[in-house]
Amino acid sequence: MPVERLQAAPVEPERRFRQDPLLVRVPLILTGVAIVAVLIVIPVVNVFYQALSHGVGTYWRNLAGDPDTRHAILLTLIVAPTSVALNIGFGIAAAWAVTRFQFPGRTFLVTLIDLPFAISPVVAGLMFVLLFGLQGYFGPWLRDHGVHIIFALPGLILATTFVTLPFVARELIPMMEAIGTDEETAALSLGAGGWQIFWRVTLPNIKWALLYGVILCNARAMGEFGAVYVVSGHIAGQTDTMPLRVQKLFDEYNNPGSFAVASMLTSLALLTLLAKVWLEQKTRREMAAGAQNGLEPAQSREVRLESL
């Protein structure tokens, strides 16, 4: 009798799974696989296939031999980390302000942080051109003082930072809300100053959320095309970032070159994905470790996973 019961339990969910007739299941699964294949797997594989179609030697020459491509890679490696750094500062400051203080216009600020998600990147780029371009409001003044923003590195950083603005803040706000102020208050009562509280208490608690935001922010910053396209003026060897370079090479019918750069961007995307999966598993494991001790898992982890 007990044996029967033990066996019955695991069988139950399986049977429910099998309730759908074959006629429904097979087409559904096939449709799913087909969509993923057509939209994701084939294009991604094709990028690498095209890039390497003329052999590894050509692939390497396409990347390293072309000075303009080299410069584009370098530029992306400057612009993206700079934007990420700026957004770490902004994200932490914004999340801190929004979750630790009550002030009029607080909800408005939260909404405003999301604005770059809603605005088309091209429009965002255009806004900066209209502000800082030669015909823009500050253009003449900037020109007189020898400051170049549009069609130069500062413009690229500005546009990229704008487009990626919400990523870090969006990750931190729910996290810091969930953690609450208890630990910070405790640190204060123990004699810690503002910076000590931040470095010793707040930052360790939000570090995974912050890292997650940084990964997403970085991926978006490297791949940004629209806003950067408008502000860069796409001057080869000067203001072309990797996505712009891909497009330019493609326009010049240099398919292997274009796909070589594209394959690098795709690799970065895959790396981002791996980092994201690793981070999710890590937080999940930590949560499970907490639960295993028969105690409530650290609240933060739960919320983290919900927000992912």
Binding site: E183, T185, L188, S189, A192, G193, V201, N205, N293, A298
Partner: protein
Amino acid sequence: MSIAVKNVVKRFGNFVALDDVSLDVPHGSLLALLGPSGSGKTTLLRIIAGLERADQGSVLYHDEDVTRRSARDRNVGFVFQHYALFRHMTVFENVAFGLRVRRAPKSRIDARVRELLHLVRLDGFGGRYPPQLSGGQRQRVALARALAVEPAVLLLDEPFGALDAKVRQELRQWLRRFHDEIKVTTIFVTHDQEEAFEVADRVVVMHNGRIEQHGTPQEVFDHPANPFVMDFLGNVNVFQGRIQNGKIVVGGIEMAYPEYPHGESRAATAYIRPHELDIDRSPVDTSSLRAKVIQVNPNGSVAKVRLESEESELELHVEINLERYAELGLRPGDLVHVAPRRFRVFFPEDYAI
């Protein structure tokens, strides 16, 4: 260090959390702030700690005005209701935190943390993380952390609120002994009157942002200042009646009340605790009430008897000791006589509650 709170007012929007509260806490005492939720007890504790700022009034530490001083500089040990342990730090680091931010030398930190972990009976737990501890252990880590900086005052917000009954009982007695050992002025907040009376040397009963009574547990329990305190400190039978010429008439019985010799009749309320009522098979005198036994519940050291008065259909709660209970052999449905040994009278118009 003694603490004085002088005429403190605190509002949250339209809600008055503290309404002109003054309080003196003598050096080395263990004081309980007791009251229902929303009575302002936690707000008062946080104002004493400097975690909340009073709108008016002042807080003095040993005659020194600290009203404007930040919690950071008050040298107060605060134990939070949910402990607020640093979840990413080990127990050792949690306890060491206050010393680390003061840049104490490493050798001193090690020695002090070890000493404190021993004091709270958590030797060998230094390497654990807070989620790996039970509620009672976390509570003690929080206490050790608060004590690490040698605070002049120890403040605890509902220290046993989140623990189960058995652990709570143990920790209460432990806190009492612990205080006798370290002698630091301690204030704790609780809504549990039993806890306050068992642990504290002084009890402050709060209600609606005011202090209703302040005294030793004995004083407060035996001489409640008003109906609220009476009611809050445990079960009580309430009788509405009238008083005149040194006599009070409630629920069909008459009792002597020489404190009111006036001829003018006034509405009065008599409060009688369950253990202040006696049950008899036969009437004792005019001050006994005929009642029917509804339910008998011998529970631990006393038998709790629920009765209904014949005349007024008033429900009565009586506690008698087990010997008396065995002697009487009470069963539901029995008709008995109930007589008060003691009672307290309050005039309703004096206390609009």
